[in-house]
């Protein structure tokens, strides 16, 4: 059994989300900030006439902020019929991973990432962290 994932990077690490959940990936869009919103929701974007919330994944996963001059990329995922844009550093590729490579997160993993990671795929030379999209975008 293999799983198909869309990969992206955050703070030098490689992450992946189930390809079936991904609607599209696109370059960063102008955002409208939302005062009073939770820190992880960074703003609203106009995606061809639809208003989407954008979530800053770095903030969500407890990673340091992105450099101000680096443009974010967006991974638009659809969960329970609602689309939401995840802000990431760079987009990787669509890859097939073997379920045999999968391992649950190590017990030493703590912090916000613990709740949002399904586990890791042991690729050659680096780890691919599988993101639990539903939990990540849950309010």
């Amino acid at each position: 059994m293999s799983t198909r994932l869309v990969t992206f990077t955050l703070d030098g690490r490689l992450y992946g989300v189930d390809v079936d959940l991904v609607q599209e990936v696109l370059r960063g869009q102008p955002q409208t900030r939302i005062p009073l919103a939770p820190a992880s929701v960074s703003g609203l974007i106009n995606l061809r006439g639809q208003v989407l919330s954008a979530m800053e994944l770095r903030a969500r996963l407890g990673l340091p902020d992105r450099d101000a001059d680096t443009e974010a990329m967006l991974v638009v995922v659809r969960v329970d019929g609602e689309a939401i844009a995840l802000r990431v550093d760079t987009i990787g590729a669509v890859i097939d991973v073997d379920d045999a490579q999968f391992e649950l997160p190590p017990d030493t993993l703590t912090g916000p990432a613990r709740d949002f990671l399904l586990g890791a795929y042991k690729l050659e030379g680096r780890l691919l962290l599988a993101l639990d999209v539903a939990r990540t975008v849950a309010a």
Binding site: T32, I34, P35, V41, N46, V51, S53, E82
Partner: protein
């Protein structure tokens, strides 16, 4: 289309509806042959068709329905009973009637359909020939055959009538046959006129069958359409804006055309989602009856304006509040029959539901002729519940006191009943109605009755809104909550924005308006540092407050987009929208903001102060001061000013050599004050600042350069300094301001503006 045609058309629509019902009734009748109701209903339908066809001189139709009616009459009176054969011939009759109607619809006449077989079959059954038991084998057979024959044969015969039809005449469909043929057909001359005309127009599309002119559509399809139209409106806004910037005549023309088409399309799609309010009202008679019985009250229900249409999502939202109001009326509004008789009212109370359109909104009234609400009782209750102090109440008008019934935790029921009176109802009614951008108010005359009025927007999806700026971000405020805008320059802001124990207030026409800074509410930094204060005066929860913003941008029709689940909980926003330049703007949830900022404490402070400082100012003494370029200022009496608006320059259209603008569904003549006075406008051409001035039922749009201020009339009008179009001049804050001769200015733009009827209402 002449009158006769209209009557025929109506007859066809009605008959088609009836025939479908007939089919079902007949089949049902077979199962329960004794049902008098079914028989009576079938009889009525056929009778109606017969009567009308006789009147319209459709001879064949009349002869078929005539025998059919005879048969039905005997069945109804119990002289015959239903058998397989009777059902068969009756169904055959219905089919024949349908074919005849089809022919009438298509060709305007009965054509060459042969009805004798059906008439004969029915007559046979009628005379008992078929049901005679003796020649069982022979007799029933032909009847059944004859009865079945028209059913099968007609569809074939009807479309190709000429070829074999051996009957009277060639069909009128082949050629435009003049009067001679219809005469032979014994059809009145008026009727064939229409088909003859139709035949001349071969390119004319085939006339739609009446039964096919409406279809059922999945609501989801409509929702999607609505959404797409929403997108189109947004794109339209963007293009119109671009066209304005580029100053390309062709592009501007196309943009204007797009503008019109998009508006019409939007309107058309909106219409598809409209449903009559009757859908909502249908279950209320039962509610009233049951509840009346339960409360020991006798109430008749009258419904006016059933056909008034509302967007279906709104209908859904209005359902509960409306039901609650009706229940409330029956439970609390009416006296008992004994009490009513005692005070000389009819024992039976009258509850009236009324729905109508007014000013781009739908108004739904629930009116009873019951005891009415006593403001003093409301007042006493409000004090008892700690909602208001006696001092505050003394300052309120009786009408304002009445509106307290919508306050949370209020109930006027003497005893809590299991029907209503739990003290949450009216509060919930208001919350629900305001949630859909509507408003609710109550009027009552003691002893005469109470009227609750719901004002509901026509649709939820697209709302007029004011866009404002705060801390560099743009926000939209729905117009329904917006009362007016006040701009104070730095000097005036210092003196006019006062402090009441830490809460800032502005003296708006003598009453204190509590001020809230949007930047503070949202936890952002205001970018306004020049000391100017811009206030949007908002109304929500029955109270007014001023929202201090950085800048007012424009008024726009915005398409409301829902927010994601993470953001709904914030509560400050009711949705988002995409502005003309493609950026997203949040829509402020004025109700929630009001609830958040107008805590009782703050309101009490404000009200307490208000009682001390209240100054009554007569509206008629107030003047709107507008700038007109070259430092010229004119004052317009505020009493007739209904709104201040911004129009894009492209909104100006020409009608009969005069400039007009479309505004809220009507066309307003445009008066350019600068032209009127012969001065030059300093303002750029891209948009117009407009004062909507209303006299009687008519309005006019007065174009000025800028709105400067609203002032109390500053002393005597010195009429010695007058000129063209000037009534006089007056001093406002040490500046000379000319008072506009509004009448002269309007007449200059539209000499017909003051029609005979409303001349007396002038000035």
């Amino acid at each position: 289309m002449d009158d006769m045609d209209e009557i025929v058309q109506e007859f066809l629509v009605e008959s088609h509806e009836n025939l479908d019902q007939l089919d079902r009734d007949l089949v049902a009748l077979e199962r329960e042959p004794d049902s008098r109701d079914l028989l009576a209903s079938i009889f009525r339908t056929i009778h109606t068709i017969k009567g009308t066809s006789g009147f319209l001189a459709f001879g064949k139709l009349e002869s078929v329905t005539h025998v059919g009616e005879n048969l039905l009459a005997r069945l109804r009176d119990g002289k015959m009973s239903m058998t397989q054969q009777t059902t068969d011939v009756l169904l055959a009759m219905v089919d024949t009637v349908r074919d005849l109607l089809g022919a009438i619809e298509e060709k305007g006449g009965e054509g060459d359909l042969d009805v004798t077989a059906v008439v004969e079959a029915i007559s046979a059954v009628l005379e008992g020939r078929a049901s005679a038991p003796a020649p069982a084998a022979a007799a029933p057979a032909p009847v059944a055959e004859v009865a079945a024959a028209p059913v099968a044969a007609q569809p074939v015969a009807a479309p190709a009538p000429v070829a074999e039809a051996p009957v009277e005449t060639p069909a009128p469909a082949v050629e435009p046959v003049p009067a001679a043929v219809p005469a032979a057909l014994a059809v009145p001359a008026a009727t064939p006129a229409a088909p003859a005309e139709d035949d001349h127009h071969d390119d004319h599309p085939h006339r739609r069958s009446v039964a096919e002119s409406s279809i059922r559509v999945d609501v989801e399809v409509l929702d999607t359409l609505m959404q797409l139209v929403g997108e189109l409106v947004l794109t339209r806004n963007q293009i119109v804006r671009q066209a304005g910037v580029q100053a390309d005549a062709d592009l501007t023309a196309s943009a204007q055309r797009l503008n019109l088409i998009a508006s019409e399309l939007q309107e058309g799609v909106m219409k598809t989602r409209m449903q009559p309010i009757d859908n909502l009202w249908a279950k209320l008679p039962r509610v009233v009856r049951d509840l009346g019985a339960q409360c020991g009250k006798s109430v008749s229900l009258e419904m006016v304006g059933k056909e008034t249409e509302l967007d279906r999502s709104l209908l859904e939202a209005v359902k509960d509040p409306l039901t609650h109001l009706v229940r409330n009326s029956v439970d609390h509004g009416f006296e008992t029959p004994a009490e009513r008789v005692e005070i000389g009212k009819p024992a039976e109370g009258k509850l009236t539901l009324r729905a109508y359109h007014e000013g781009g909104q739908v108004v739904v009234e629930v009116a009873d002729d019951g005891a009415g609400i006593d403001p003093s009782r409301i007042a006493a209750k409000a004090v008892e519940k700690g909602l208001r102090t006696p001092a505050q109440l003394a300052e309120m008008s009786p009408n304002d006191v009445l509106q307290l019934i919508f306050a949370p935790g209020f109930s006027t029921a003497k005893a809590v009943t299991n029907v209503s009176g739990r003290g949450v109802g009216m509060d919930v009614v208001r919350t629900n109605i305001e949630a859909i951008g509507g408003a609710v108010e109550v009027e009552s005359v003691l002893g005469k009755g109470t009227t609750c009025r719901l004002r509901i927007p026509l649709t939820l999806a697209i709302v007029p809104a004011l866009t404002v700026e705060c801390s560099g971000d743009r926000y939209a405020i729905p117009q329904v909550s917006l009362l007016e805008l006040v701009a104070l320059d730095a000097d005036r802001a210092v003196t006019d924005v006062e402090d009441v124990n830490g809460a800032s207030v502005y003296r708006l026409r003598g009453t204190l308006l509590p001020l809230v800074r949007l930047a503070d509410l949202l936890g952002v930094e205001s970018e306004r540092s020049d000391g100017h204060v811009v206030i949007a005066v908002l109304q929500a929860e029955g109270r007014r407050f001023g929202l201090v913003i950085d800048r007012v941008l424009s008024t726009e029709e915005i398409v409301v987009k829902p927010l994601g689940s993470q953001l709904k909980a914030i509560g400050a926003y009711s949705g988002a929208t995409i502005l003309g330049d493609g950026t997203v703007a949040l829509i402020l949830d004025v109700q929630t903001l009001a609830r958040r900022v107008l805590n009782t404490e703050a309101t009490e402070i404000e009200r307490a102060t208000e009682t001390e400082t209240r100054v009554t100012v007569d509206e008629s003494q107030r003047l709107l001061v507008a700038g007109l370029g070259a430092d010229r200022r004119v004052a317009i009496p505020l009493s007739s000013v209904t709104r201040l608006e911004n129009f894009p320059a492209t909104a100006v259209e020409q009608v009969g050599g005069r400039e007009v603008v479309q505004y809220r569904g009507s066309i307003l003549p445009l008066v350019r004050l600068a032209d009127f006075y012969g001065t030059y406008s300093d303002r750029g051409a891209e948009d117009l600042v407009v004062v909507i001035y209303t006299v009687g039922a008519r309005s006019v749009a007065i174009v000025v350069d800028e709105i400067v201020d609203i002032v109390e009339e500053g002393g005597e009008l010195s009429s010695d300094v007058t000129g063209h179009g000037v009534l006089g001049s007056t001093l406002v804050r040490d500046r000379l301001v000319e008072v506009l001769d509004v009448r002269a200015a309007i007449l200059a733009a539209d000499p017909t503006f003051y029609s005979v009827d409303d001349t007396q209402e002038l000035m």
